[in-house]
């Protein structure tokens, strides 16, 4: 009797253990299925998130003060939409104002940089994920949902232009180019806009630079030494823009379809023969407001405000801020002293220095008037003692 009882009890214990094991197994499976459901839910939000990232402030919420973004983007004064596109600080503002994924209260974001109140960190995904094919510079956001973390990496694909593979010319000497070159088998991407204060502030934060920034985040970053400009570009996984690539991306190449032209022509304005600018300049009475929106020249400074991130007057590949505005520094591997692209608000509209492909001879060290050579004194009428110099970067992408 006792034996049967103990046998039964042993059987019951074994069965209970098995049932318990089965119970936990089923629970574990349910938990895993729940995890997959969370992934599906979060992914359903990504389409909207991507639109916010790539389209920026299309509704002009920031400019119309419907969104308080001063802390992230600065006070709005004359800046085009492109500034908010692929801009992590715009997303930061949306998160801060709790307007991203409206109605989805269970979603939150991790404050990754507590000191600066940023919900993002710049990362090198290629290094982070040990994968060479990923971009070298992106932004990490971490979305939180139901006790799970979902890292999302956002890449800036709004502010670079591709330089088509073809033959280009470089420089002008008695009407002929210094030499012709090509970028066949090479994929070059160039910054569409000059580096902004926002970009610089981020670099200063991440690399503890002892540099003070004046001006609003969307304004052009000015006054950096060429060495520091190069360091900034390296931080972004890029190189400083070179003079021959600058010319290739701003001077109109003539026939788009023919990538191997026998001869290169020189056009002083962005869209070649049909230039709206040359038409504007040839009109009997120049419409200054219209012209200044294309080339912010010396005449414009007292009359009209400068539009930041202006998407007017693009080059043939879509580079902006190529004429007027601040002087642009380029690294010139052929003639190192010819490194300042002259077109700027320091020259009048009709000056030949206002044309594309013209560079000032600069002795280096500081951006002071007396460092410029080979220029007539009369051409320097509008140049201040210290002049403004911006820059942009470029990078080569694998085949």
């Amino acid at each position: 009797m006792k034996k049967t009882f103990y046998l039964g009890l042993s059987f019951l214990v074994i069965l209970s253990s098995l049932t318990l094991w089965k119970y936990f197994r089923v629970r574990e499976r349910k938990n895993l299925i729940r995890k997959a459901e969370k992934i599906t839910f979060v992914r359903s939000l990504l389409s909207d998130f991507e639109k916010r990232w790539t389209r920026g402030d299309l509704e002009s919420d920031w400019s119309h003060l419907r969104l308080k973004c001063s802390e992230d983007l600065g006070d709005f004064i004359s800046v085009d939409d492109d500034f908010t596109r692929c801009n992590p600080d715009y997303i930061n503002c949306l998160i801060r104002n709790n307007v991203l994924f409206l109605g989805k209260d269970q979603i939150s974001w991790e404050l990754l940089d507590k000191k600066n109140g940023k919900y993002y960190r710049p990362v090198n995904p290629a290094l982070l994920l040990s994968l060479e094919s990923l971009p070298r510079f992106s932004y990490l956001f971490v979305l939180k949902y139901d006790h799970e973390n979902f890292p999302i990496i956002l890449e800036d694909n709004c502010h670079e232009a591709y330089l088509p593979q073809r033959i280009y010319s470089f420089g002008l000497e008695n009407g002929d180019p210094f030499f012709r070159w090509d970028n066949f088998q090479r994929n070059l991407f160039i910054d569409k806009y000059l580096v902004s204060n926002r970009d610089l502030l981020e670099w200063i934060r991440e690399t503890n630079q002892d540099i003070k920034i004046e001006g609003r985040p969307y304004e052009i970053a000015l006054g950096l030494s060429p060495e520091k400009m190069g360091q900034f570009c390296q931080f972004r996984g890029k190189q400083l823009l070179t003079a021959h690539v600058h010319e290739a991306s701003t001077l109109h190449p003539g026939d788009y379809a023919n990538s191997r032209p026998l001869k290169s022509l020189y056009y002083p304005f962005p869209d070649g023969k049909l230039s709206k600018i040359s038409k504007m300049l040839n009109e009997d009475e120049i419409n200054l407001e219209k012209t200044c929106s294309w080339i912010y020249s010396a005449e414009c400074r007292d009359k009209f405000s400068f539009t930041h991130f202006s998407n007017k007057n693009p080059s043939w590949i879509g580079l902006f801020q190529i004429m007027g505005g601040a002087i642009e520094y380029v690294q010139n591997p052929l003639l190192p002293n010819q490194s300042l692209v002259s077109t700027s608000y320091y020259f009048p509209l009709v000056s030949t220095w206002q044309q594309l492909g013209k560079r000032l001879f600069w002795e280096g060290q500081s951006f002071q008037r007396n460092r410029l050579k080979d220029i007539e004194e009369q051409d320097l009428t509008f140049l201040q003692e210290n002049f403004d110099v911006g820059f942009r970067c470029m990078r080569e992408v694998g085949q």
Binding site: T40, P336, V397
Partner: protein, 293 residues
Amino acid sequence: MIRYLTLITTLSMFIFWFILNQKENELEIDFFFSQLEIHLANSYQANLNEDALKQEKIIYPFNSWIVLGQFSYFSSQKPATLCLFFHTPYKNKKGSLKFISLPDIQVCEDHLYSERKNEMIEVDSLSLKYNPEERFLSFLINDNKRKIFLSNVPQKAFSYKRFSLSSSKRAYQGLLFLGLAAKNFSSKSFNIPLAKKNPCHNVSSSCKNLTKFKCHLCEGGFFSEVSLCPQGGRKFCGPSHCGEKGEVACMKGIFQLKEKENGDYCRLASQISFCQQGLFPQCNEEKMIICEK
């Protein structure tokens, strides 16, 4: 009394066991695909079996294991491989769908018969379709439809042209979804400095890769020597000083070359490269085109 209690408890346990078993069977397909979903949520590369995709129901080759797909994904911030296998049904024998996950990038064919821990379900019939535009991998198992979204997988074979975006053509442009990650997933420091003298990508003069590309580890980018190789020449960490005295020459291009030239490009130095005014491109003892007087 105790006897009855034991009997009732045993009976209840049996019923409970039976219910749990039923539940587990019901969850089998959901569980399998949930695991697949979790693994593939951040997959960034997919190589699918074109022959299997063409079949209405996958039955060929009969009674054999085949690789349905090989996927690269991130596991603990490192690349990993997921292999999806299928054993085709034959006569009364059901088909089997299973996957295994492997560390690093591996070839799935090598693991077709491996005894590794894997997940497997038996199926009467299976159909697999892939929509490369929408990045949906659709399964029809028996009569159950299941979809896996491969949002990070880029569009195959595209070439850059004017106005091209710089990012790969993924389902969400410029967005990389990393799926579920450990709580300590953080942005670690930017770059690991590599020795400056050693190339981060060593390429021979006959265009063979002598080392793996490691330039993504460079502190502040990298530059390449002048080369006619499609993958570029030797690459080094650091900023480019091309054209300066003693530095690598700048690439002028290949348009002046009459025919495709490989190997000894030293004699072509002035055609394919340029230096600062007053310097001339010439090969040094390492057969690298540098700028000297």
